[in-house]
């Protein structure tokens, strides 16, 4: 009798905890900076799965940024009762909005991870995947704030790392035998701002992925796009005509459009007329009409060794002579571009830009 009662008490305690684990909506922290990711309640961390809160929309942008072949699980959450507005044809999120991006790799073995295309999981099976970090962008009263959380080895918690972190990764291409060993860098908070502050230095941080064009994803008939899900949840009104940004991965787009989409996403956050890299005079956000400003026959300014003993950013028809491609193909910190966000070379991007330059008419 005593045993039975004890048993039922324990069982109901378990049930309560289960409910607490899966059903609590995320929490917005206005002033404090939680040291633990779990304080945001964005995920239920089961022993076997990382499950985003049902209150969040899981999304994948049209034109994702390259990060050392890491897979990314992105969530968007707006507190109950609040709505985003449309300001200057862009989404303006209400205070309390939390965007998250969890970086992970499928495991190949206990020591190696797998290099394979991101399949866009809606939740992460922890027996098959290794969590690395979760980055948050949080809309506070005075603008967006960035938080970087790094997962512990047990995958039970991620801790705030203001100064970033690094992790040794051994990556095995699917079907390959040689591993690529590299240091994966978790950005520090200033480095978050380096990309998310597109108007340098006085502009605020803002999202790069959770924007109209990026959220308007063609996910196939019968499936709601992230934007449609936002409308369904009452986060956005449906009276807006949504633009869609080009994707470098879109096989139906022209080579020119794909290349420009690629450069725009990977480079345009700094290489825009008001960005941190405007000092170079190389503008890659598709805003420029003059060829030289887009890099065609443009001499380097302060590239140092990054110029690779080459004379121009882009030499039409000559990818091997183009500094732009040289810097994409480098993995040396002082030469490579982008400066942040990767340790590895993005071969698919190199292929795309290489073909684009090769087919570009003209000469220097």
């Amino acid at each position: 009798m005593t045993d039975l009662r004890l048993r039922s008490v324990v069982l109901s305690a378990c049930l309560l905890l289960l409910v607490a684990c899966t059903e609590s909506p995320p929490v917005y922290h206005d002033t404090e900076r939680p040291l633990r990711l779990s304080d945001w309640q964005l995920f239920a961390v089961d022993t076997n799965e990382l499950i985003p809160s049902e209150s969040s929309v899981v999304f994948r942008p049209n034109n994702p940024l390259f990060t050392d072949y890491a897979h990314k699980l992105r969530t968007l959450w707006i507190p109950a009762g609040l709505q985003a507005e449309i300001v200057n044809d862009e989404i303006s999120y209400p205070v309390g909005t939390v965007l998250s991006k969890t970086f992970y790799y499928p495991r190949a073995s206990s020591t190696t991870l797998t290099k394979v295309a991101d399949s866009g999981l809606q939740k992460i099976d922890l027996s098959e995947n290794q969590l690395i970090e979760t980055r948050l962008l949080v809309r506070k009263t005075d603008g967006w704030d960035a938080f970087g959380y790094v997962w512990n080895d047990e995958q039970t918690e991620a801790f705030l790392r203001i100064a970033g972190a690094s992790k040794q990764v051994s990556l095995l291409a699917q079907g390959g035998t040689q591993t690529t060993d590299f240091t994966y860098f978790v950005p520090n908070e200033n480095q978050c701002a380096a990309c998310h502050t597109t108007v340098h230095p006085d502009g605020d941080m803002h999202p790069l992925g959770a924007v109209f064009g990026q959220l308007n994803v063609d996910v196939g008939t019968g499936i709601a796009s992230p934007l449609e899900q936002m409308v369904q949840r009452g986060w956005l009104s449906d009276e807006q005509v949504f633009p869609r940004s080009e994707s470098w991965q879109d096989p139906s787009a022209s080579l020119d459009d794909r290349a420009l989409a690629y450069l725009n996403m990977q480079c345009g956050h700094c290489h825009n007329p008001e960005g941190a890299a405007d000092t170079s005079g190389l503008i890659l956000d598709s805003s420029q009409t003059l060829a030289v400003n887009r890099g065609v026959c443009k001499p380097p300014v302060a590239a140092g060794g990054g110029a690779g003993d080459l004379l121009y950013a882009i030499v039409p028809g000559q990818p091997e002579e183009s500094i732009l491609l040289y810097r994409m193909r480098s993995d040396k910190p002082d030469e490579m571009m982008p400066e942040l966000g990767r340790s590895l070379i993005h071969s698919e991007g190199v292929d795309l830009i290489g073909r684009w330059i090769a087919e570009m008419p003209g000469a220097c």
């Binding site: 607490a20 684990c21 239920a44 970033g164 941190a276 026959c297 302060a302 690779g308 080459l310 910190p333």
Partner: protein, 402 residues
């Protein structure tokens, strides 16, 4: 027996659930010196002084500061050393984007790229700071030592810059600049003022660089129209180190043995400097056209104008020029090259006196290279340049001391 087993099982399952909710407290990670310093820089408030203790501190990732009103202070230019010898991330050692910034009394060594980059900042002081690549002049060294760009009110005082593969002290696209009492050695360019306005470069020592002091204006940049720079009372001698800049960069075209080089800049006053033993040219004044790079910028003026040299001292130099046209000229004359060398290229409608005036000692020698005619008829006649220009004003700025 049965009871206790059940009980243990139940408690264990509760514990599993507890930990899966994160209620159990996994341990926080510890911070290294480098991480603690970067955290301090991120969490700094205006008015903070962040100290770098004496000693050699190994840093592996770029450090950065975005908070205005912060001072980074070491214990001495040779005692507090941030060593980036094993740097694995970041294109610079220290990246600053903050107003009212002071960095003083420390050294930054062996960064993989630039040592200190200061981007779009106002009221910047770099005081008694050394940037150095310790293995000597190598093309694999970082490009710039002290590198403020698109900044306003910049004071660089008692700095030391050694070994940069581009420029030791490089102020680009900036305005209101003072570089003084500093030493630049074994860089490609010792001190370079580029696409900038209103600069005083004085009481510096520039030696053993490829080029001692450079004042340039380049096309296709968001900030151009470089003008109003005074270069005075500097010791500019024996800048004869072979050019080790990676090709493609503009300074890769600077001949080894250049004392002062002015390219495409206007309103430059050069006085009371001591030029000595710069083996290509003590003073070289050229248009951007000399690079033979096509100009695609309709707003760019490639010609230097209103250059005024007076009361400088010239000793030696011009004996083994590192430039084909200069070497041919030297071979033709059998003499060391003159003290002041001008490419002779003029903007349409301008006179020689509008480009270059000088009031120097009678024995100061000069040549105009006739570069626009393939160096066909160099002229040693300085009569057209015997003129004076209005003196430029001193740069003054009020910066708070920290």
């Amino acid at each position: 027996m049965k009871t206790s087993t059940l009980r243990i099982f139940s408690i264990a399952s509760v514990a599993v659930l507890l930990s899966s909710c994160g209620s159990e407290e996994p341990a926080m990670p510890e911070l290294s010196f480098e991480e603690a310093l970067q955290e301090q820089l991120i969490q700094a408030k205006s008015g903070d002084v962040i100290t770098i203790p004496a000693g050699v501190h190994e840093i592996t990732r770029s450090l950065s500061l975005n908070v205005s009103g912060v001072t980074i202070a070491g214990a001495g230019i040779d005692t507090s050393i941030l060593s980036f010898k094993n740097q694995v991330q970041g294109a610079e050692g220290l990246l600053i984007s903050a107003n009212d910034f002071v960095i003083r009394d420390l050294a930054i060594e062996d960064t993989i790229g630039d040592a200190i980059k200061i981007n779009e900042s106002t009221n910047v002081q770099v005081l008694r700071v050394r940037t150095e690549w310790t293995n000597g002049p190598l093309s694999t060294n970082g490009a710039y030592g002290i590198y403020p760009v698109q900044s306003t009110n910049v004071l660089i005082d008692e700095a030391v810059a050694i070994g940069a593969s581009d420029a030791g002290i490089y102020v680009g696209q900036s305005s209101q600049i003072i570089v003084r009492n500093s030493r630049a050695e074994y860089n490609v360019a010792g001190i370079e003022i580029e696409n900038s306005t209103f600069a005083d470069v004085h009481d510096n020592v520039a030696t053993n660089n490829t080029g001692g002091i450079l004042v340039f204006d380049l096309p296709n940049l968001p900030v151009q129209g470089g003008r109003n720079t005074r270069v005075y009372n500097n010791q500019i001698f024996a800048n004869n180190t072979g050019n080790f800049a990676p090709e493609g960069n503009i300074v890769a075209g600077v001949p080894a043995g250049t004392g002062l080089m002015i390219m495409a800049n206007d309103n430059i006053e050069v006085f009371e400097n001591n030029f000595e033993d710069n083996n290509s040219a003590n003073v070289l004044i050229v248009s951007y056209l000399i690079n033979e790079i096509p100009i695609t910028d309709p707003n760019y003026d490639p010609f230097p104008e209103a250059i005024y040299l007076h009361n400088n001292q010239y000793t030696g130099g011009g004996e083994s020029p590192d430039s084909e046209p200069l070497a041919l000229l030297q071979a033709a004359t059998g003499q060391p090259l003159p003290d002041i060398i001008w490419d002779g290229m003029l903007s349409e409608g301008k006179t020689a006196a509008e480009a270059l005036c000088f009031s120097e000692a009678a024995d100061t020698s000069f040549v105009s290279l006739d570069a626009s005619n393939g160096f066909a008829a160099p002229s040693f006649d300085a009569a057209a340049h015997d003129c004076a220009l209005p003196r430029l004003s001193e740069i003054s700025m009020s910066l708070s001391s920290q």
